[in-house]
Amino acid sequence: MSETFDLSLFWEYRLVLWRGLEVNALVFVLSLVLGLVLGLVACLVRLAPWKGLARAGGAYVELCRATPEYVALIWFHNVAPFLVGWATGIRINFNPIVSATLALGIVASGYFAESFRAGIQAVPRGHVEAARALGMGSMLTFVRIVLPQAFRTMTPELMSQSIGLLKTSTLVSVIAVPDIMYQVQMVSQQEMKAMPLYTGAAISFFVLIFVLTSLVERAGLGTRREA
């Protein structure tokens, strides 16, 4: 029992594990950026005035949201390269980090798209009309008036979704991305002592996410800001 919480082994391998955590951070940041960009695009497509396009955007969002991350990871790593190869005639493999970024980023984009949409639709119509009445074009109005307000409304939700994405990034060992869980598995196979390492990984993630959540709260991003 005491072995479960004996973290000396965890400490001994801290460098390897730290490198694993860096990989988690890398996958997290890449898929976050991809998710936000694709999410905004999907949201705009979904709000497009052309019905067919709007429907395609809606279908994309639903597909993303209905796909478990675990399944997406395996699909993007094993099936997507095959499809790309079939379409282009060039045999390729995805680097696991690329597969992981695509899988997590695309799934997350479905959720981000919905947050963007809610944020954009919450902007009062009168604010848009005021801008248009001053001669501001639709693009300028969107960038200067709608988007900043939408961001404010959606920040808390965006923050919790991002932290969710960080948690999800621990799944990537399933396609052999050398993240912290992957390293933990490797080390525990060598040392034949799994429990302290798993406990250590759990504790480090708890600390990481707790600290991040507190920072978000401290910065006032966890609740809607005044005006």
Binding site: G126, A130, A131, G135, M136, G137, L140, I145, A227
Partner: protein
């Protein structure tokens, strides 16, 4: 002299419901036109057609002698002119809304600077000078750095007027600018509007403030059910309206 704005047989329907049934009027430079009438008579829709926030179903709008070039759908209904033309018209015609519609994520000064900077292409310093000059004009220079949420309704509306003025438009439209204000706050807004009128600003005012319409306007339109029912200078419209409906409307309002 040519009218600054000429509206000819303007019609507007929402679906099958006609809201404007052929409105025509001229607006000479430097005059104030007040549009009065019951709720649902089409006043606001008419105003919104003038700066293309609504697209008329039929009719013509001439601004400074040139017709607004509406495009036509294949079914013959009108569509917005090309974006550039619509934006050019709108920057020459300012609008003040019933709900103020200040942008909450910008300071008071930021609200007023935005269009001069991004639409008229002034530098930040020029736009700030202009914003401050117009905020001073509406008596709110001290509030330049505040956010709109911290202002009273009357103050917000005065900022909205400064925001419209900062583009130095040829015509100012007021869409029931005092209707959502508490009675004690309407005075400060009406005072600004009176000053503007006295300075020769060309204005179209949709209003329920009959005293204001009577004192300030050069001409009154009384709308009923999407058509002009009474049209004339305030002295005549208020003293001896031709239309029975207008007379009843006025006796209800002016006590």
């Amino acid at each position: 002299m040519d009218a600054l704005l000429r509206v000819v047989d303007l019609q507007k329907s929402f679906g099958d419901t006609p809201v404007l049934k052929g409105i025509s009027f001229d607006l000479p430079k430097g005059t104030v036109l007040s549009i009065i009438g019951a709720s649902g008579s089409g006043k606001s829709t008419l105003l919104r057609c003038v700066n293309l926030l609504e697209i008329p179903s039929a009719g013509e709008i001439h601004f400074r002698g040139a017709p607004v070039e509406f495009r036509k759908s294949h079914d013959g209904s009108l569509r917005l002119p090309a974006a550039a033309a619509a934006n050019t018209l709108r920057r020459r015609i300012g609008m003040v809304f019933q709900q103020f519609n200040l942008w909450p994520h910008m300071t008071v000064e930021g609200n007023v600077m935005e269009a001069p900077r991004r639409v008229a292409g002034l530098t930040k310093a020029e736009a700030r000078d202009k914003a401050r000059a117009y905020l001073d004009k509406v008596g709110l220079l001290l509030f330049a750095g505040r956010y709109p949420a911290r202002l009273s309704g009357g103050q917000q509306q005065r900022v909205a007027i400064a925001r419209a003025l900062a583009m130095e438009p040829d015509i100012l439209l007021f869409d029931e600018a005092t209707s959502s204000l508490d009675p004690e706050l309407t005075g400060e807004v009406l005072k600004v509007m009176r000053t503007l009128a006295a300075e020769g600003t060309t204005m179209i005012v949709v209003t329920h403030e009959m005293a204001f319409a009577r004192d300030v306007s050069d001409r009154i339109l009384f709308l009923h059910d999407g058509a002009i029912e009474e049209d004339g200078p305030p002295a005549r419209v208020f003293a001896q309206p031709q239309s029975e409906r207008c007379r009843r409307f006025l006796t209800e309002f002016v006590r």
